[in-house]
């Protein structure tokens, strides 16, 4: 079942009077339980595409449909609500709140999504347990290793049961072994919980867990093929 669909997406940025095209008619879809690797060189437009798919940016042209709802670029105020309901992010830099413990980082994300009190605490504990950090749940990010921080970030994305997970270079700041563990964790949880997972990456190991690999170059999807 398709949960995210992008059709003929274009995006231009303005540099002075000149319009610089970044995406030139990109089409992509994600189904529940599917893991897609989005690969491309720097400047190819993959982060812009991720931002549009994640309802952070609106496209210049084309259409994005999230869980059956077409994103209206003329109603940017609606975007945060779509993000809260349908999308979980994992960032390259983890982007954890340094003043909150691992558990609180997850719980706060749930609070933003409208889940509060004991329900939020229970869900936060569930996902922290799912990423294997129960014994570190009270630690501040500064006391966690890079891999542990990324696990917390994964837990935060999973919390609230958003059907779409978007990850931006999730292994870029991790060593090879830890990066591999994070990807396996991602794969297991996405499959187990039937989430759609799009990973933007340079890391060839991602192919090992992906169902499909999409290449992007100069703002155009250059290939879409099953992973090896």
């Amino acid at each position: 079942m398709t949960v995210l669909e992008a059709a003929e997406i274009t995006k231009e940025y303005r540099e002075g009077l000149e319009a610089v095209p970044v995406l030139r008619g990109v089409s992509l879809s994600l189904a529940r339980g599917e893991i897609v690797s989005l690969e491309g060189p720097s400047g190819s437009g993959k982060t812009t595409l991720l931002s549009i798919l994640g309802c952070i940016l609106t496209p210049t042209g084309g259409r994005v449909v999230v869980e059956g709802e077409e994103v209206d670029p003329d109603r940017p105020a609606r975007l945060p609500a779509i993000r809260r309901k349908s999308i979980g992010f994992v960032f390259q830099q983890f982007n954890l709140f340094p003043s909150l413990t691992a558990l609180e980082n997850v719980e706060y994300a749930l609070n933003v999504k409208g889940v509060a009190g004991a329900a939020a605490r229970r869900e936060a504990e569930r996902v922290i347990d799912a990423v294997g950090l129960s014994d570190r749940s009270g630690y501040l990010p500064r006391d966690l290793s890079g891999g542990q921080k990324q696990r917390v970030a994964v837990a935060r994305a999973l919390a609230g049961r958003a059907p779409i997970l978007l990850a931006d270079e999730p292994t870029a700041n991790l060593d090879s072994q830890i990066g591999g563990q994070i990807l396996e964790l991602f794969r297991d949880l996405a499959k187990k919980e039937d989430r759609a997972l799009l990973i933007v990456t340079h890391d060839p190991k991602v192919r090992a867990i992906a169902d499909r690999v999409v290449g992007i170059r100069d703002g155009v999807v250059s290939e879409a093929r099953p992973a090896a």
Binding site: T47, S51, A77, F91, P98, S99, L100, E104, E107, V112
Partner: protein, 375 residues
Amino acid sequence: MVDLATKSLLHDKLRFAITVSGVAFAVALVFVQVGLFLGILDNASVTIEHADADLWITSKNTPNVDFAHTFPESAVQRVRSVPGVARADNLIVWYMTLTLPSGAQEASLVYALDDFRRWNLPWRVAEGDLTDLGRGQYVFLDASAEKRFGPFAVGEYREYLGQRMKIVGRTRDALSFSTTPISFMDFSRAQKLAYQTLANKTTYVLVKLAPGADLESVRAEIRRRLPYNDVYTKNEWAKRSRAYWVESTGLGLNMMLTVFLGCLVGVVVVAQTLYTSTMEHIKEFGTVKAIGGGNGDIYRILGKQAAIAAVIGFLIGAAMSYAMRPAIAKISLKLIIPPSLALVVFAGAVVLCLAAAMISFRKVASIDPALVFRN
């Protein structure tokens, strides 16, 4: 709910201390300036507040209680016959030169009445019996005079306008705006001492109304009978005396300027630290937006942080101000912080801190959540 605002604020303890210090010093500055101002102004009308008189009759256009002008003492007779007047007496308030044992000369503000007890003046007698004042060349001197005149004891003598007067009592809290020490002596004694100016003269008539008498009708009748005098209620006269010093000395302007500067310093410190903090946490705020939060969520975080800084800063600033009171009292000044002032300063601190946070609001409103993808 996870309290990101509080945890984030307390996470950087040094920055938190700087923010709170900014508010605390601004609050203390306002409290001390306004408190001292109120304390000094209190001196300007303290005798009026304590005198048991409903009406004060003065010469025309007398600016304040210390700067009295004379008028015939017989006016009191016309006042006593006004219906509704229970009693009326002459009061002299007059500067007299006093010679100290060292030969140095100083001024004392003399309050002279026939019957001090009747008018509750002086209101705090530390030593002596007020009835003695009518028995000879006797005077009561306020303890605050020691700062200006040096130590003195009951039983000692001082020269008032060249006449030897025996100190037979000591009072407390009888202060004047100009800090000139106050003496109390018998009415006729004061007239004799300054014979050329005070003979058959008074400077005020104090009026006590009979129970149930209508103040305005009594005042109207006194005005009719004494057209060349002014008649004030106690509150009006106290207010006029205070207003004179505020308006004529620039004290009010000075106080307002200091309060303004205090507020400005507080706002700038809070605004600057909150803004810097916002800039340093910009990626966190971007993350809040990326995970579905709106500008409102971030405004609440910044608003709460500003409010916390305001409340804690206010408490520390107020504590600092109260702690200064004994030291200020030692230099014969009063720091008056009425609850209404505390309430206004508290509300001001909160409002100004929130206003300071609004500078950060503008920055937050323009955060592009896509920055979470940047290194």
